[in-house]
């Protein structure tokens, strides 16, 4: 399928274009990303139905509900998933939900800590062990889920600070995943959302929403809506969720006052990584699509020439 240098002969402008050096393409992509980053254009977001559902799933929880947040990603996919982690944690803090954090990826633990440190600046009054707890990483993928499905303490004798669970107030009335009101999983691959649906939420009968890299998203659609009750697929969805969250906050802040809401949302948009990144994203998409088109044009010209002789 892929045409390699050997198989191509160099004649005519279109072949030059066709066999263009990869590095030129690389250059275009770099520019497509860097320029919007520097200029920071802001584009509108139109939340899709699925994102709205996801938001509702989270928003309908009463104060004090327990949510299990699984940070199953690492720095490699941070740009895509961090906005979700941030906006979800903020949403949880905002609605005064109790957060229980676990990680099936070793670095997920660090991602969780980064997220919390960032948001504790916004919500300094949230207390560790009372409003949220970080159980940290355990290796074993779905094995871990299998175990905490019946008993947290079996897999997590202590939290990340080596405190026995029995001494952590927030853990007092929690034995297993079954005691959760909602599972949120942010995953960049395996083990991830799929495993949480199969081995966690399904058997425990707990509702689950998740965020995944855009790559994983298509694999997860089969689980919607019966097994998986909400999904944020990639940066785009994250940005849309941010939009919804902002609208809610601003709504509470401003009431009906339209331009207040607008200014408020603009204000919040600055802190929303997802929205900022979507700008560069959009441009880069256009560039790539342009390349695909060009590539196919040259391909067709090429084929016609060959047919001629």
């Amino acid at each position: 399928m892929a045409d390699t240098p050997e198989t191509t002969k160099k004649t005519g402008w279109y072949q030059k274009v066709r066999d263009i050096d990869r590095r030129i393409i690389f250059l275009f992509i770099a520019l497509a990303v860097i320029i919007p980053l520097l200029l920071q254009p802001s584009f509108p977001e139109f939340p899709a139905q699925l994102v709205k559902d996801t938001f509702a799933e989270m928003d309908k929880l009463p104060e004090g509900s327990k949510i299990l947040m699984a940070f199953d990603y690492d720095p490699a996919s941070e740009p895509e998933l961090q906005p979700m982690a941030t906006v979800w944690t903020r949403h949880a803090f905002e609605n005064k939900l109790k957060i229980y954090i676990v990680a099936l990826w070793p670095l997920g633990q660090n991602m969780a800590e980064d997220t919390l440190n960032e948001l504790l600046k916004e919500y300094p009054d949230r207390k560790y062990g009372v409003d949220y707890v970080n159980l940290g990483f355990k290796s074993g993928g779905q094995g871990v889920i299998n175990v905490i499905l019946t008993d947290f303490a079996k897999m997590y004798p202590t939290d990340v600070y080596n405190k026995p669970l029995s001494q952590i107030p927030i853990m007092k009335d929690v034995k297993s995943i079954k005691d959760m009101d909602l599972i949120i999983n942010i995953s960049a691959g395996f083990p991830g959302l799929k495993e949480w649906v199969q081995f966690g939420a399904d058997p425990a009968g707990v509702r689950i929403i998740g965020g995944s890299t855009a790559v994983q998203a298509p694999l997860l659609y089969p689980y919607i809506p019966n097994q998986l009750h909400g999904l944020l697929g990639g940066l785009k969805a994250a940005a849309e969720y941010e939009e919804l969250a902002d609208r809610k906050l601003c709504g509470m802040k401003c009431g009906q006052d339209a331009e207040c809401i607008d200014s408020c949302i603009k204000e919040y948009a600055k802190r929303d990584k997802g929205k900022v990144r979507m700008g560069a994203q959009a441009i880069a998409h256009m560039v790539i699509m342009a390349f695909i088109i060009i590539g196919n044009i040259t391909f067709f010209i090429d084929r016609r020439r060959e047919r001629k002789g």
Binding site: F26, V33, I34, L37, L38, Q40, Q49, L50, D53, A76, S77, E78, P79, Q82, P106, K127, Y128, G129, V130, F137, K138, S139, G140, Q142, P157, T158, Y161, N162, K163, P164, S166, Q167, I168, P169, V197, Q198, F199, D202, T213, A214, V215, A217, P218, L219, P222, Y223, I224, P225, N226, Q227, G233, G234, L235, K236, R277, A280, Q281, A284, H285, I288
Partner: protein, 297 residues
Amino acid sequence: MSKQAKLIVFFVIVGILFAVLLVRASQNKMIKPWPTKTTVEYKQMETDEAGVVMSETIETKQVFSWKGFWTWFAAFLTLCIISFLYDDNPFYKFAEHLFVGVSAAYWMVMGFWTTLVPNLFGKLTPGLVAKTGLIEGLEGVPWTWHYIFPLLLGIVLLMRLSSKYGWVSRWSLAFIVGTTAGLNFVQYLVSDFMMQISQSLKPLIVTAANVDPIISTSPVICSLSNILLFLGVFCGLIYFFFSVEHKGFFGAASRVGIWILMVSFGASFGFTVMGRIALLVGRMEFLFADWLNIIVQ
């Protein structure tokens, strides 16, 4: 232009850029590569006598912070990797080997602290682990005898290092493969076979009463979608049939099947592109915001 000349030019340019950056840094326009005196906060989680409230006591210290230096180093490594886009080069090789070494060790360390200590030592010698203070609350907990097995299997695995008794390690291998087969057999049958079937049991004709809003609010579209969904799964499965020649009806069906597969591949591709770009954006943010401090955050 000769190779040396190219190199010289390259290093001259890099040198100039480096100088410029140093100047910016010295003007506090970006993070400084040399250590700076700063106050750091050590967070400590504590509980009062009752153990009810876990309070954070934060003690601050005056230290020399190497953060700047390391940030520059990180930026350097980032550029090293990116340089591979141009061609394989010493910088990339350096970064690559560093990465391989560091990450291999990283996983060993993680495995030790997050698996061996709590799940092996903690189970076999809870008293001892409790003494070391690594894990609290293990005092007086009886040892779990059957965790002897993984220990044995693990040691047996290490026998591989001996050329004479290397074959013993097959036992642990056999155990692992057995576990894999056993767990996967059931789990995939449950969640990817049974569950997928049960989720595909959708009415082919949808009445207005039970339309699926995620797809559409119009019963017609929903019905068509469900029919397409059914045909899609059907043809897709036909494509994977191994014991039937793809001729006649099966030929046609499997052809439709491969198309359906292609659509999902196209979808995956579209999503993947998104994802990858996002990652690049993230890296660029690091370079331009955290390091060069050009973008205001």
